[in-house]
């Protein structure tokens, strides 16, 4: 009964690690190459990319929590609050 919850939470934690790795890569990237020309990546581009990574992570985490909570409801367990859900964003 709890195995499903534990493996779902493991998936969320792995998604979080992937997100942090992606953000680290974005922050560390100084330049990008377009048609043999190396251009500096400006901060607003990085900020937009990071926001996209965060949005994708929240979407995936929500899917995992929704599936897990459905199984928990069927098993008669209380649902777990998704801490990554941001209201009004």
């Amino acid at each position: 009964m709890y195995e499903g919850t534990i493996s779902a939470l493991d998936r969320v934690l792995n998604l979080n690690r992937e997100r942090n790795a992606a953000i680290r890569t974005i922050n560390e990237t100084q330049t990008t190459t377009i048609n043999r020309v190396r251009l500096k990546v400006d901060e607003s581009t990085k900020a937009a990319q990071i926001e996209q990574v965060n949005r994708l992570f929240r979407h995936r985490a929500k899917a995992v929590y929704d599936e897990m909570n459905l199984d928990r409801l069927k098993a008669g367990l209380p649902i777990l609050k998704n801490p990554y859900e941001t209201k009004g964003k």
Partner: protein, 238 residues
């Protein structure tokens, strides 16, 4: 049966520490970013401070969400272990015969005929031996016997009716450990963090990295000790 509760909780704590270290690096990197002259140039002095404060609030919200997930996993691990222990010690509850109610009524009748002096451990065992694997039922009988003969636990904490209530007492003490474990896991990873000595100076202000306090570390040690108790008790039982 081996439930390995301590191993699972230790692995969870180790995983948390790794993720916490990675988070602190991200905190440092994202704040250091504001020390870049190209970035600082984009903001006024007040605007820079506000942007930094917003970034810190966002990072702390992320940390809180991460800690909440770890907390949820800790509780799931403990709940799983409790379910395994409960089904091991309360197996009799689910395997009751069809005439269980009649057997209980007969047992109560026999107990009623005994006095405090005549109701010894051997006599009680002869009346209740059919129920010794049924935790719930033995809990009820323990109250009745206790009302007749006095406390069933001596000064050492051992039962005074070992033959009759020995198994029940062991099961009871195992389940009581969970009464200690459960409140600790409520906030095992979500106690307030403090601003550590290690940090980063940004916008002229020193910002400490969010760090676990002594309470959290002490709680981990206590939780692991209790988990080991459960593992040893279950292993001895099987």
């Amino acid at each position: 049966m081996n439930i390995n509760l301590k191993t699972k909780l230790q692995a969870l704590i180790d995983q948390y520490k790794e993720d916490m270290a990675a988070y602190q690096e991200r905190f440092r990197a994202e704040l250091n970013h504001f020390n870049d002259p190209d970035v600082k140039r984009r903001y006024s002095e007040i605007g820079l401070k506000e942007t930094i404060d917003e970034k810190i609030a966002e990072l702390k919200a992320d940390l809180e969400a991460l800690c909440t997930t770890f907390n949820q996993k800790a509780k799931a691990i403990v709940d799983e272990a409790k379910e395994q222990v409960t089904s091991a010690v309360m197996g009799g509850t689910t395997n009751r015969p069809a005439d269980h109610a009649a057997m209980v009524a007969n047992a109560l009748n026999f107990l009623d005929r005994e006095t405090a002096e005549t109701l010894t451990d051997d006599v009680a065992f002869s009346i209740l031996k059919a129920f010794t694997g049924d935790y719930d039922q033995m809990a009820l009988f323990a109250r009745i016997v206790e009302a007749k003969v006095g406390p069933l636990v001596d000064a050492d904490g051992s039962t005074t009716f070992p033959k009759t209530f020995g198994t029940f007492a062991k099961a009871d003490s195992m389940l009581q450990v969970f009464d200690e474990i459960t409140p600790i896991t409520e906030a095992i990873f979500t106690n307030p963090k403090y601003d550590g000595v290690d940090g980063v100076t940004v916008g002229g202000i020193y910002r400490g990295l969010p760090t676990d306090g002594y309470l959290e570390i002490a709680n981990w040690a206590t939780l692991l000790e209790l988990a080991e108790k459960v593992d040893r008790a279950i292993f001895a039982e099987s």
